[in-house]
Symmetry: C5
Subunit: 360 residues, 5 copies
């Protein structure tokens, strides 16, 4: 389960704008991939040195430069120089605990966003920070680690789907964000299935482990909520942006993206409602069960404790020879059958009593 | 019970604007009905090919084109070409999990709305998405499956009710939305009856099954809430729209529609309040009942356990012949009656104690 | 107890603006009373036919036309024609489940409001819809049934209180609304008294019936809340209205009315807070009581079960003659006194234990 | 404890603007004190007749006229005539249940505010309504009963503290409101101490009486909240007022007053949070305690009930002479010691079981 | 644990603007340190007399004057005269219970902010008020006691980090606030670790002490929340300020500061959510545990109480010689083995019953 808060102490005491990676420790080399295309051409290049990306900044073709990691600080700083990024932007870029946000500068748009996905093996929630630098004809994207949800976008660019190719970097940026938000629905669907499965199980057979499941669902919803609420502002903000970076033709798509984030929020809030409803069901099923346990105890004890007393009475050793008043029942020829008659009457009476109380 | 969230994985990885039906699998042929009328004429036609609808788009008469299903994607796409609908609109149209919304374009108004109804046999809640394309003199409506709440509108058009006939497509669109919202009241009334029946039963005789009923009511209210909150914005938005598509004479009716959605919201919120009140009643009635069970157990055990001890004492086998201090009571002529006297005194004392504690 | 939601199925499928009464079935004749006055004259007339009201519409005197029922639909429709009321207004007028609202048209102001009162015999809450048509020199008021809270207004008009007489219909309309809101305070005061009485009782002697009382209080507060929250908008709306119908001299009074509705809201919210506080008290008093029951059971069982075991031990029939190790205590001369000594020691020890645990 | 809602039935049916005192019944004579000062002079006068105040209205000196009661309606009405107060203002002035508010007229500012203080003997919360009429060079203040929190203001005026003397009525009005708000902090501090004391006690030794204390704290916080939330609007409103009555030099102080009310609100909300936290602690400590009681019962019963059964077995009277299979243990030479061995084994086993379950 | 509300009674009755220290009693001498620098020079001076600070006010170099305490009122007042501070500002400065706020005057900006840190030994939360006077080329900072979080800022100034040296007082002020907010993350991280540790422990082994831990976490979060919500307004307010005191180059950093406060708020709210989730877990684990206790009791009692009754029956002393109906079982040759058979059957039956109920 991803931690809810990440920003760490190593940040402390550094000057503002200090570029410090605060995520999990990583050592692998950061891969830089460039996809460069225009209406008629398409190239995909693995870049070794960050300096090799710089020409793409001002080339007329649309370029998508993707970094598969942000733990290599010198590399990020070199890129910052090459693309003219303010130190504060670099700081946000490598701070993996940052809130989703959008920042406009003259030359580009800077977007921080959370990419959610499910671990293929056990459906655990994975959260990764993705930052986008959206320039006039380039998009630079930064991921925390290799592996992403952008394959569909790559496919579409490669397969000459005209819309992506002919449109500019703003549409590419939108396509990346749309791919991320589309994956939110996958994650939510998986949560939805778990919620509904849990719901059925709780009603039929609640167990104490369910409390933990409920708690984990709550936690995941908190995480998604933290990712998507600020995203709404980001999506809405880009749509309303009066900037030459955003073409009018793209605005319609951004509006669509905005609506999708609203729908994600809506769904998250609904699930939160449902999950707290599940807690209520769980708690009252525990309560019901204790009630049932109590009833069984009470029925048994209430029937047999008085009968035990009766048996105890006739187990007393009063000297029957001392006086005719001492336990005369013991000498009666039908004393024992009468004892059992008393047992049946007392037991039957209590049975009737419990019936009337609807305990049986 | 309808699922709360529908958008499914098959959507994933497709380009934005891809027209993909995500509802239940359906194969039946989509029926297209056209009702075409003006002040003096009225026609109702079943259309076989979608192309046959296109002439109605520009005819001077008012035309209502209804699709009884949205699972036939090629048909929808053909319609989109004929009526000039943007791919994103087609995408929303067939995405049955979409949030209610209103979108204005130059040529038409696009409205997505949820139609709620009750299953005739068991009063289950049914939710279906209805989309409307409201053009200058036509309305195209899309339903998920045959069967709707529009019969009253059809009747009014057929029976020459002048208002509907003489007014234009904006009033027709309003009439369809009004029919849907009117059905919300039917659904709410049914829920209201269930809430009040449950309330009475809970007070007189709470059972563990009621928890489930409460949970189902909550869930249905969540569903209606999700349908009606965005509807408020839709209704308010259309009313305020500065568009030649909406005539001033219709605005008064749209205002009325808006007020009805407010009233539905108001009622839903009230029911939510009441249903959580019912949960409180249920929980404390369970608690009360456990209390009562405990009291019975305590009274019986508290009376008979000490008496059982007393009987046990006189059942001991101390050797009375060894010393006069060993169980001298056993040899007393009135030992046994005195034992019963002690039983009556102890029992009576505890009875008095329980009375004072108000347990009896 | 009044139902919380009223709009009924009979409305379904009718055209918008259809005038359908949805309240309780009533058959009595609707009484129409006209109070007509100016600075120097005063008349009170019972009108038989609704047409007889029409002249008052344009007379220079101020006229208050009151309908004691709204179930006679033809009568209402005739009035609508005579006073030029839009069908949608007539629809709202007879829909007794409508939300309080204010609607401005050129010729008049239409106000829907809830009149709350207490049943004289058992202090049940009664809710009735009152609609006002406020024209330039007339006020038409509609009630659901005879009997209202307007007697003080009638008295003031009759007794030549100059302010009412000399002022115009806007002040009269204000006076009617003020009388209704003043009655809200009466209702709230009665609820307040019940809340405080319940509070005292809960602390001294909680009983299971109190849960029901709490639930009923909650329900009544929901009802008043539903009546008064929209009323705030109505009162505020009329005050801010830029209409020749409202004179500036009346605005000060409308401001006062607005403040009173705020105070009602404030009080309702405070009571809601208090009532949920009462639920907490009730629940934890139930819990406390169960705790106490448990303690009694535990003390008795914990003392006597071990003692019972001891008595059982000395009631065993081991053959003392078979060996000196078999129950040698039975043959001791002071065996029985020593048994009682053990009883006192065990009992005293447990007593000390319970004291330390603060159970006694 | 002061009642939460005060407006009473005697108000009902009167015309708006009717001046009716609704507070506790009082008969003592209302004392009127005038403090009249300018830069160089200072007078303090007890006024017998209300007419004697009128000259101060237009005198060039600053005058503070204080009424120690508002139950003498004719006196208030006479004052109203003399100072030109609208009947609605007089109505609010004597309605002790009014919400704090500020009303501007051309000639003066009318402020209603709640004065909170602690009863000296038992620290009960006292709430009193104070109204201020703030004219160009006079302030009239109305209290419900003698005794107030204004002594510090009087002292400062008397002791020639220049700031108060040289500044005008607006600063005097501010000083009075500031004295009232300063007292809110005293009240809150007392509540804070009670909250923290209760917190410590609850953790160390929760008792059922604490529930009541929690409820009382909640109630007092509701009362303060009702007094201070509208006060915020009042303070903010006066600060922003564009009126010649408020000098710019005073605005800085009014800003300070506004911040103090914000701080009071902040503190009240924090205490409310804490008090509901206390309720949680209380409830779960009750729950913990019941758990502990249950454990003791279970341990004792679980150990001794099986042992009691065993003793019972060897107390049975099967005829050992009838067959060697009947209770052969009784005749064993070491039967009794073996019985005790069994007791020790069973008891020890259960002890180990409870240890493992962490019950001991 | 720091107290939540601090403003004390000693304030009462003083004139507004009275400078009264309300924090803990302190007697140590207040240390005044001045750090004075420009592009090329750097000086750090300990100042003995407050008058020695005055020249720095108008010197062209940037000066940071730090007070290590605010309990020396005459000193503060002298400073107020020297730097031209309004009495109300001095009042706020020494009132350690003040809400974070920002106040603009012509000559300077006045900022009140809370500095949070962890006690090094036991990680208790420490809260201290820091006030800043931000003038054109000086910053005066006031702390409650020696020791702060500004060492990193001092280091950066000293080590000729150009950015700090070359930028003006506005950047210095920002750097101080940034250092404080950075420490919030340290505090939050520590709380986060405690929350996650508690979470794991609660699931594996809940104990009654955890309730206290939860309560303390809640309390600390309330404290941080109170510090950071108003801080958001402060940071946002300074950023938007149209004042020559704030250079445009600094605004970007202030924006960053604002975002950090948003992130702190976000994290605090998430932790609050989580902590109340922990309370739910705790409460239902207590409930589960009681359930388990009850089950053990019920199983033991339900099995052995009926068996005890059976043993009691055969311990009765009915006179077998009086009639063949009196306890004939006792004389059977296999009576005792049959008794044990009955025990095994009853025990086994109940075992099966408990299995079916899933209690075992």
């Amino acid at each position: 389960m991803p931690k809810l808060v990440k920003r760490a102490k190593k940040k402390l005491g550094l000057k503002p704008g200090a570029v410090v990676y605060v995520g999990e420790h990583r050592t692998e080399k950061v891969e830089i991939t460039v996809i460069d295309y225009d209406e008629s051409n398409y190239r995909e290049i693995k870049v070794d040195k960050v300096e090799d990306c710089f020409p793409f900044k001002d080339s007329p073709t649309v370029s998508w430069i993707n970094f598969s990691g942000i733990h290599d600080i010198p590399l990020i700083e070199k890129l910052g120089e090459g693309f003219g990024l303010h130190p504060l932007i670099l700081e946000d870029l490598v701070n993996t605990g940052h809130r989703p946000k959008m920042e406009e500068s003259e030359a580009f748009l800077f977007v921080v966003i959370k990419m959610l996905s499910l671990k293929p093996d056990n459906h655990d929630l994975l959260s990764e920070q993705v930052s986008l630098i959206l320039g006039p004809n380039y998009v630079v994207s930064f991921q925390e680690k290799p592996g992403d949800v952008f394959d569909s976008v790559r496919d579409r660019i490669k397969k000459t789907v005209p819309r992506v190719r002919f449109m500019n970097s703003d549409y590419l940026g939108y396509a990346l964000m749309d791919a991320i938000v589309d994956h939110y629905f996958v994650v939510l669907e998986s949560i939805g299935e778990r919620v509904e499965a849990l719901e059925e199980e709780l009603v039929s057979n609640p167990a104490s482990g369910h409390l933990n499941t409920i708690h984990n669902l709550k936690r995941e919803l908190v995480l998604i909520r933290r990712a998507v609420w600020p995203l709404r502002e980001v999506a809405g903000g880009i749509e309303r942006l009066e900037s030459p970076l955003i073409k009018d033709a793209t605005r319609l798509y951004l509006r669509d993206l905005y609506e999708h984030t609203i729908q994600v929020i809506d769904t998250v809030e609904t699930y939160r409602d449902m999950v707290s409803g599940l807690l209520d069901i769980y708690l009252s099923s525990v309560s019901n069960r204790m009630n049932e346990v109590m009833k069984v105890l009470t029925i048994i004890a209430t029937i047999f404790i008085p009968l035990g007393f009766l048996a105890g009475v006739y187990g007393m050793n009063f000297d029957t020879s001392a006086s005719p008043f001492n336990l005369p029942e013991l000498g009666l020829p039908y004393g024992y059958p009468m004892f059992w008659l008393a047992v049946v009457i007392v037991g039957g009476g209590l049975f009737w009593f419990f019936r009337r109380k609807r305990w049986l």
